[in-house]
């Protein structure tokens, strides 16, 4: 078991190194002549107007919130699915009630208009 995670740890380092190599190679091989016009933000060919990092559409937050609820609850479902053989029928039904509550929350969000884009 520890060996498994040792492998993952080494794989993380290697996976980070693999894309760094070509970028480093490009840094050595490619020309580097920056100037002010070249380094401008690429929008329409004109000087950019206003700040980019502004407030954005609130709908993105709403989707993220609904997603967060689902994501957290899904993690709890994985052990339930793995231990399925050892569960009595009542345990299965308890899991189903849990999923049903999740579905209920989705129906509530839908009804409240949280899933409408406009």
């Amino acid at each position: 078991m520890q060996d498994n995670w040792l492998f993952i740890g080494i794989a993380v380092v290697i996976a980070a190194m693999l894309p760094m190599l070509p970028i480093a190679a490009a840094r050595i091989l490619s020309p580097h002549r920056p100037n002010r016009l070249k380094n401008e933000t690429y929008e329409c060919g004109m000087e950019t107007v206003g700040d980019t990092w502004v407030q954005f559409k609130v709908q993105y937050y709403v989707y993220a919130l609904v997603f967060l609820i689902f994501d957290v609850e899904m993690i709890f479902l994985f052990p339930w699915a793995v231990a399925y053989d050892n569960l009595p029928l009542l345990g299965v039904i308890a899991g189903l009630v849990f999923i049903f509550l999740l579905l209920d929350g989705l129906a509530y969000a839908w009804r409240k208009g949280a899933l409408e884009w406009s």
Binding site: F7, I14, A26, H32, Y63, L115
Partner: protein, 417 residues
């Protein structure tokens, strides 16, 4: 043990003997073994991707009645190497307004997140990077880092198109993550294990034939996860230039592009492992070398479907894209999970769990019934929405100017004078 029976095991044995003969500490031997294994596993995907880019361009060209790349090497197979050398020699322009640290981390993360998935992909009976007992959860967790890289790239570029692309991408990716993970739960439930190799081992009948609807949900959601047409709004050229990687050039852009292809390949391989029986096929137990062949044939089939859909369908609108996942795929996948769990539990309760014919028949029946119900509900919902739209009043496009206004103004002026 001979080389041809199991080359990987043979070479691993040679390496082990060599390390032992060098009188190294046992911990050092484990670490070196792991480093070699991780290097092999993570470069497999990257090497395949070089040829995959050529294959995809060739296929896309054939779908559009063109030849595709056919100059560099036989059938243009060296095209990707030409592209690669060109990208290496291109200048890397970093905009002055960019936030340098996340700007430079993002392309690295976009590749690393996908390469890490290959650590748990089983290539053959015993050929697997590491047989993690939480493999499926690991795939879901590591895959999510890709979303982070997209948001980092878009935000750090300090460019409005890039930021819009990143917002769209994140909305799309997190929304499709929900049905994707629910569809992942179904093979986990059927195999009673989160280890990818155990799931492959449990597929005496491929899961696509046991739970076809789960396969469908997983396939559509993974199309969205890799941002392929019809879900390619995150880099809609006609609207937001190139989306989140607008400001990237040179090799950093190349990393995003390679990451995208690698992501497609990885999801095709994961689909093949979870639903199409992975390395399973005739004679694979005797000759493990056949395992990767079967795996990549199946993954190639899934990839072909992806390219086919890409060259056939137009892009869909963002609100439709979000409606498909939240109002159709998510409820469908949740209900499907509940129904399959209940069917499984009831069959076990009545002692019929080992009756394969009944088990598979019941599962398919449940799948078909739920799919038909879902399609019926979706068409009802759709027609209700269409009726609502019809009640809008028609609005004239151009309003004619009012001719009486200036005359009235002049008369009132005269009166006051």
């Amino acid at each position: 043990m001979s080389f041809f029976e199991d080359p990987i095991k043979f070479l691993a044995g040679l390496l082990q003997d060599l390390l032992v003969s060098l009188n190294l500490h046992p911990i050092a031997i484990t670490v070196i073994n792991n480093i070699v294994g991780a290097l092999i596993v993570s470069s497999v995907g990257l090497v395949i991707v070089i040829f995959l880019i050529w294959l995809e361009r060739k296929l896309a060209a054939r779908f559009q009645d063109r030849f595709g790349p056919n100059r560099a090497g036989p059938f243009g197979i060296l095209q990707s190497f030409g592209d690669l050398s060109k990208l290496v020699l291109k200048e890397d322009v970093v905009p002055d307004a960019a936030d340098k640290i996340p700007y430079n981390i993002a392309p690295i993360l976009s590749i690393a997140a996908v390469v890490l998935v290959w650590a748990v992909v089983p290539f053959s009976v015993e050929w697997i990077g590491t047989d993690l007992n939480v493999g499926v959860l690991y795939i879901a967790a590591v895959g999510s880092f890709g979303i982070l890289s997209v948001l980092m790239a878009g935000w750090a570029s300090n460019n409005k198109y890039a930021l819009l692309g990143a917002f769209r991408a994140v909305a799309q990716l997190i929304s499709y993550e929900v049905p994707l993970i629910f569809a992942l739960l179904i093979p986990v439930l059927l195999a009673r294990s989160m280890g990818v190799n155990q799931i492959v081992g449990a597929q005496d009948i491929w899961y696509i034939f046991v739970v076809p609807v789960a396969f469908g949900i997983f396939f559509i959601a993974s199309l969205a996860e890799i941002g392929r047409t019809p879900f390619d709004l995150l880099e809609a050229e006609s609207e937001i230039v190139a989306g989140y990687h607008t400001e990237y050039s040179g090799m950093k852009f190349g990393m995003f592009m390679a990451g995208e292809f690698l992501h497609s390949l990885t999801l095709a391989v994961v689909t093949a492992a979870l639903f199409l029986g992975g390395w399973r096929g005739p004679y694979v137990e005797q000759l493990p070398l056949l395992g990767p062949l079967y795996l990549f044939l199946k993954a190639g089939f899934v990839y072909f479907l992806i390219v086919w859909i890409r060259s056939s369908l137009p892009r869909i609108r963002i609100d439709h894209m979000l409606d498909i996942t939240w109002k159709f795929l998510t409820p469908l996948s949740v209900v499907l999970l509940m129904a399959i769990a209940l069917t499984d539990a009831l069959l076990k309760e009545f002692g019929q769990i080992n009756n394969t014919a009944l088990y598979v028949g019941a599962m398919i029946a449940v799948n078909v019934v739920i799919a038909l119900l879902a399609l019926f509900a979706a068409s009802r919902l759709n027609s209700r929405q269409r009726r609502q739209i019809k009640t809008f009043e028609p609005r004239p496009l151009a309003v004619p100017p009012k001719p009486a206004a200036p005359a009235a103004a002049s008369t009132s002026e005269e009166a006051s004078a």
